[in-house]
């Protein structure tokens, strides 16, 4: 088992005061909290910090932890000393919903958590707890609807009363038109009932993987569509991809980069479906042969045009 240096995790000296520990925790928690952080590995870091704080903020646990010293040398396996835990009273270890490392569980797991968890269940006797999970789906799932194989991590209490997370694979019909941040409720798929009660429900919150072509804003979709300068200037009918297939799109004459064309109701489906917006981007043909160079030169000669007039130069 890997030894955890809780002081290092929190960036603290081993003689840090309680106030310093609290301060360090708050700062790190704000930085890595999965609900507010965009840091990479925010969730893993936050768990680590939460675990370190759980030990260091509690004088009994901290004293016991300090007895272990600096831990084994790097690469060496850690085992709790045989007399571990004698003379210390660990009260109220559990309470948080995160799962701790094996290292933490081997030192502080068991008694505190086992004592505290059933109390929560007893609060709503009979009914199993609701489970919450998050999944990342492809955008097509909401555009077309359909079944998806979802792999969920579900927290569970094992036989020894420890909180562990277990993988569960479910085949779920994704409702057409579901938006990022919304959830699918599966009745009775949460924790089984205690005794004669009913099972809890399972809530699956969805997020979408970035789509290679479309950006999403609520129910509306956006596509950047490249057009040739003459298509924009003279108007044209061009092919454009949409979620429901390729369509012919009419570009009005005099269009420019940033012009926004709307295809009503071709966004994310609903009773009031979202719209599909095409943003034009003028693409320039390269002047990489004599013929193209001559064409550009002819254009320059034919049209007096100062693109910087707006800058006053």
């Amino acid at each position: 088992m890997e030894f955890k240096d809780y002081y290092k995790v929190m960036g603290l000296a081993r003689d840090a005061t309680e106030a310093q520990i609290k301060q360090a925790y708050r700062k790190l928690a704000r930085k890595y909290h999965p609900d507010v952080s965009k840091e990479k590995d925010a969730e893993a870091r936050f768990k680590e910090v939460g675990e370190a704080y759980e030990v260091l903020k509690n004088p009994e646990k901290r004293a016991a932890y300090d007895q272990l010293g600096q831990g084994p040398r790097p690469g060496e396996d850690f085992r709790p000393p045989p007399d571990w835990g004698t003379g210390f009273e660990f009260s109220g270890a559990g309470g948080r919903d995160s799962d701790y490392s094996d290292f933490f569980e081997s030192l502080f797991g068991g008694q505190g958590r086992a004592g505290s968890r059933p109390a929560r269940g007893a609060f709503h006797a009979g009914r199993g707890e609701d489970h919450h999970a998050k999944v990342l789906l492809d955008l097509d799932a909401t555009l077309q609807g359909g079944a998806r194989q979802l792999s969920l991590r579900i927290p569970e209490i094992d036989a020894e009363g420890r909180l562990v997370s277990k993988e569960r694979v479910l085949n779920v019909q994704v409702p057409k038109g579901i938006l990022a941040g919304q959830s699918i409720r599966l009745a009775g798929q949460g924790q089984p009932a205690h005794g004669t009660g009913t099972a809890g429900d399972l809530y699956i919150e969805v997020e979408f993987q970035p789509h290679p072509l479309y950006r999403v804003d609520g129910r509306d979709l956006y596509l950047d569509l490249p057009v040739a300068p003459w298509e924009a200037a003279l108007g044209a009918t061009v092919k454009t991809p949409t979620p429901t297939g390729t369509v012919d799109l009419k570009i009005p004459a005099g269009a420019h980069t940033g012009s926004k064309l709307r295809l009503k109701g071709r966004g994310i489906p609903a009773a009031a479906a979202g719209d599909f917006y095409v943003i034009l981007q003028i693409a320039l043909p390269p002047a990489d042969d004599d013929k193209a160079k001559a064409a550009y030169a002819a254009l320059a000669a034919a049209i007096p045009f100062n693109p910087r007039a707006i800058l006053g130069v």
């Binding site: 928690a29 609060f123 479910l170 085949n171 579901i178 409720r185």
Partner: protein, 102 residues
């Protein structure tokens, strides 16, 4: 081999289908009703107006309540801090959406 559509579990979009009472929300979040009343009074979560004296909440408030509870517990911030954090998160979300539409 069976196709993936066979026996797929079906569920409704919770945010669009559910109307919750204070009691429902309290049970679902394993939190005291009084705490939720404080959330409503501070503007952290919002009750919808329905034609009865009892408060009702849209399904979307479940996620918001759970988020508020996590922030309160994990960041050790008070109610006003939670309300501010949620407002700023909403604002951030709005700005990110605007960015997408550009």
């Amino acid at each position: 081999m069976s196709s993936p559509d066979d026996q797929a579990l079906t569920g409704a979009i919770f945010e669009e289908s559910a109307i919750l009472t204070l009691k429902d929300l309290s049970r679902m979040c394993a939190v005291d009703e009084r705490h939720l009343v404080e959330y409503v009074e501070e503007g952290v979560i919002h009750a919808v107006a329905v034609s009865s004296s009892e408060w009702h909440f849209s399904g979307a408030e479940l996620r918001r309540t759970r988020l508020a509870l996590r922030l309160e517990r994990d960041l050790e911030i008070n109610l006003a801090g939670v309300a501010l954090a949620l407002e700023l998160l909403d604002e951030l979300k709005r700005l990110r959406r605007e960015q997408a539409g550009r």
